[in-house]
């Protein structure tokens, strides 16, 4: 069964450093997303991506964040200068046009 994959599973970084979280969506999906879950809190939408551009973004997704689909398979989330409050589990997801997102296993980002 096809699945969304994410690397790395755990990323530890120093405050102020740049990080890139990587995702490989399901191959025939056209819509891509990033969500995050701060420990003990709800899952929050960050950004959606379709046809090589951002479709929608939340207020969390400020200028420190960017997304890219550098080739036909990868979908990346970059945080330019990490802050302590960026520590969270980051989930990538993909979907077709008919609803129901399929999530990856997540990347746990720890900012020290």
């Amino acid at each position: 069964e096809p699945e969304v994959t994410q690397t790395p599973s755990h990323q530890v970084t120093q405050m102020g450093q740049e990080v890139i979280l990587r995702c490989v969506p399901i191959s025939n999906h056209l819509y891509f997303y990033w969500y995050r879950q701060i420990l003990g809190q709800k899952v929050e939408f960050l950004v959606s991506f379709y046809n090589n551009e951002i479709s929608e973004k939340s207020e969390i997704f400020d200028d420190q964040f960017s997304v890219e689909r550098p080739d036909g398979s990868n979908f990346t989330l970059k945080i330019r200068s990490t802050k302590l409050e960026d520590s969270a589990m980051y989930f990538c997801a993909s979907s077709t046009a008919t609803g129901g997102l399929f999530f990856g296993p997540g990347t746990r980002l720890t900012v020290l």
């Binding site: 056209l30 819509y31 997303y33 969500y35 809190q41 709800k42 899952v43 929050e44 939408f45 959606s48 379709y50 479709s55 929608e56 939340s58 989930f91 997801a93 979907s95 077709t96 046009a97 008919t98 609803g99 129901g100 997102l101 399929f102 999530f103 990856g104 296993p105 997540g106």
Partner: protein, 114 residues
């Protein structure tokens, strides 16, 4: 804007007992509704979804949820739970299909006791 309320943060239940996890939503437009399950140290898995048609939807592992438009609810039920059902359950809503973000509830932790 949509919002989702899961009133119960934790639900303990004995094995083989029935369970209901409550979910209410608010929206000014028609919505699509979803339940996701998160097992310990894992990602989110789609459990079931309501897009249209029959208001009762079922999953392959015995869960079911019923869309009730008048009560704006989408409660999740299972007649007999197993230890392996222990997980966090998230209700989510979107206002459309495809490229429409999901809004999640805070989650309900289901603990099945032997």
């Amino acid at each position: 804007a949509q919002s989702v309320t899961q009133l119960d943060s934790q639900v303990p239940v004995f094995e083989e007992a029935p369970v209901e996890l409550r979910c209410n939503y608010s929206s000014s437009v028609s919505v699509y509704l979803f339940w996701y399950v998160q097992y310990p140290n894992q990602g989110l898995q789609l459990l079931l979804k309501y897009l249209s048609g029959s208001t009762l939807v079922e999953s392959i592992n015995g869960f079911e949820a019923e869309f009730n438009k008048s009560q704006t609810s989408f409660h999740l039920r299972k007649p007999s739970v197993h230890i392996s059902d222990t997980a966090e359950y998230f209700c989510a809503v979107s206002k459309g299909s495809g490229n429409t973000p999901l809004v999640f509830g805070k989650g309900t932790r289901l603990s099945v006791i032997a």
